[in-house]
Symmetry: C2
Subunit: 366 residues, 2 copies
């Protein structure tokens, strides 16, 4: 297939598409990634050697399950847990490589994927597919969350054609993942689009356990729809208001809007709405106060992460993060059972500087 | 004084400045107003006949009284109540005219100013000054709030040179306002910049009464600094989340940030912070839920206002608002004591359309 057909663009658009890619290298291997969506091509799409690794598409979200789900789907849908970690595609391009959402090859995730997944066997059988996996767990360089996971593990939630991005039907994908012993997201069954009750039950259960939400999918795997819990909206707000000047206002606003519609759909009465409101207020104010006090006390503010691995794996990861322009401060660095464990902070200079300005009595024009 | 000197710009900037003004007419009188600040010239500056009416400057805000106030002021400061209404300048240009913050002549406010203030006497004595007044009260076409006011009344908080914008010293201004019987904002005395205790007392008292906050001012009237109460932050959030898609995200975010710093400075313990958090959550979620339900029920959503006056005054106001592109829906129109009283809604099409989209099961890409 020629390059324009592969990208799904007109031949005359090709030069614009090519110039939107950013060049990078991984251990001498040259590749280029698409940092933002361009002419219908997904963010995170990668050109590497003579092939393409398609970006993972953004999944539309519904704010009202009813009538959102029956409006979106015209046949049965599979429900799986949506996990809160980071989204990685693993493709075999000369060797198995792990690409983050934006298309960068992550050396740390590549290693963990190779250790924990039987990639040789999978790619021998399916050389032109990519595994789409969420990496979850507390020892996580990007999005740490508590799961029943000690350190960091993948959950394979999709198998797609590497170049076209075409997904496998849901049941086939789950069967293949099982055959290769790949851990998968929890399965909530197949329901009819009108069966809102079952979908709400899944949400209520996940919310009670502090989990993120669900992905609903047509059985051919082509139509995806997501919905998230109040627990995750609050966690998002807590993270964001701990570093208020580093998060986009769009990020904050969207979580508040989700809560508004969820209250209308889920809350039984005004008492339930008031309780939700109080949780929301706590998620906003308390992390912000804590961060202002931390800046006042001269502490480092930023996102805290822990990672674990061989000396070289951890060292390589820290270099990879700094190459992306992040300021890293190492808070603890120790060895345990032959592994190196590093606790570090991605320093938030913007939040620190703005808070220092106001604490010093600085003014603002609004 | 030539035009460039009047504006305080270089002669070669004059054409850029001129073209930033918007032309308008008021009863056949042509004038032009500056809708946004341009080359250091305040928003709301007006060119009319052969003269200039200077815009009211934006007042810087401090988020921490301590050390904000002693950092900002180097001598005694006057404290006055900051009122929550709309800011109007009244200047005598052929006749006394009331200019809103953006520089438009408001026919309704012009009438009320003439009825309630002895403008002939004032402008006879001070022809080149402008009165800066906040119009407050429940019957208010722009910013309705409860005060000890039946309908709508001005509070004169500043007297400035019309063309240069130079303010009068505080005590002289208050004495002149008193001489002409102009109502003024409440007076909280003169304090030293280090006297944070007195300033906090004023804030605490105003907060308990649901009032907006204070303006602090150097005695020559030239340096102004504002600080607002939790009560007003909550009221702002309530208004904004009642029409979430019509308010800017910057508006929402700034109120939340103010609360964070105020909690650090004012709240005695974690219980007080939690109470503040709950109030914040209620101010966000409950108005949003109410509006979603109203759209669901097919009701008109928007800001509700009541105005009162002669037939022609009220009619002229409604035309003035529609000329600004607002969609107005009249909900009640009655007569009382020879006056016309109209209750109307400024319809919020954006909020209605977005909420209808999500209620109908529409999706969003985030």
């Amino acid at each position: 297939m020629d390059e324009a057909s592969l990208f799904g663009v007109e031949p005359e658009e090709l030069s614009a598409v090519r110039s939107a890619f950013t060049e990078a290298t991984y251990r001498g291997l040259e590749y280029a990634y698409l940092g933002s969506p361009t002419r219908g091509i997904e963010r995170g799409t990668v050109r590497i050697a003579d092939t393409l690794v398609r970006g993972y598409p953004s999944t539309p979200r519904v704010l009202m399950l009813d009538p959102g789900v029956p409006t979106f789907f015209d046949g049965p849908l599979a429900i799986e847990e949506k996990l809160n970690g980071y989204n990685v595609r693993i493709a075999h391009v000369g060797e198995p490589l792990a690409f983050t959402r934006s298309g960068r090859i992550c050396p740390y995730t590549t290693r963990i994927a190779r250790e924990q997944l039987n990639l040789q066997a999978f790619f021998a059988a399916h050389p032109d597919r990519m595994l789409c996996a969420e990496f979850v767990g507390p020892e996580n360089p990007y999005t740490p969350h508590e799961y029943d996971v000690d350190s960091l593990e993948p959950r394979v939630f999709d198998v797609r054609h590497r170049e076209t991005g075409r997904p496998m039907p849901v049941k086939q994908r789950r069967a293949i993942a099982e055959r290769f012993d790949f851990p998968q997201p929890d399965w909530f069954g197949v329901v009819d689009p009108g069966d809102i009750e079952s979908i709400r039950e899944a949400i209520t259960e996940l919310d009670a356990r502090g989990r993120e939400g669900i992905v609903m999918q047509s059985m051919d795997g082509r139509d995806l729809l997501k919905y998230t819990t109040a627990a995750t909206h609050r966690q998002d707000l807590e993270s964001a208001f701990a570093l208020p000047f580093d998060y986009g206002q769009e990020f904050l606003f969207s979580r508040l809007i989700r809560e508004g519609f969820q209250a209308v759909e889920f809350d039984a009465d005004e008492t339930a709405i008031r309780e939700r409101a109080h949780g929301l207020g706590e998620a906003i104010l308390e992390p912000m106060v804590e961060t202002i006090r931390a800046v006042e006390a001269g502490e480092t503010v930023g996102e805290r992460h822990t990672v674990r691995g061989s000396d070289s794996a951890v060292g390589e990861l820290l270099i990879h993060l700094e190459e992306q322009g992040l300021s890293i401060e190492i808070e603890a660095d120790r060895r345990q059972g032959g592994e190196r464990i590093v606790e570090f902070v991605k320093i938030s200079n913007t939040t620190r500087d703005k808070i220092e300005h106001f604490l010093a009595g600085g003014t603002i024009d609004q």
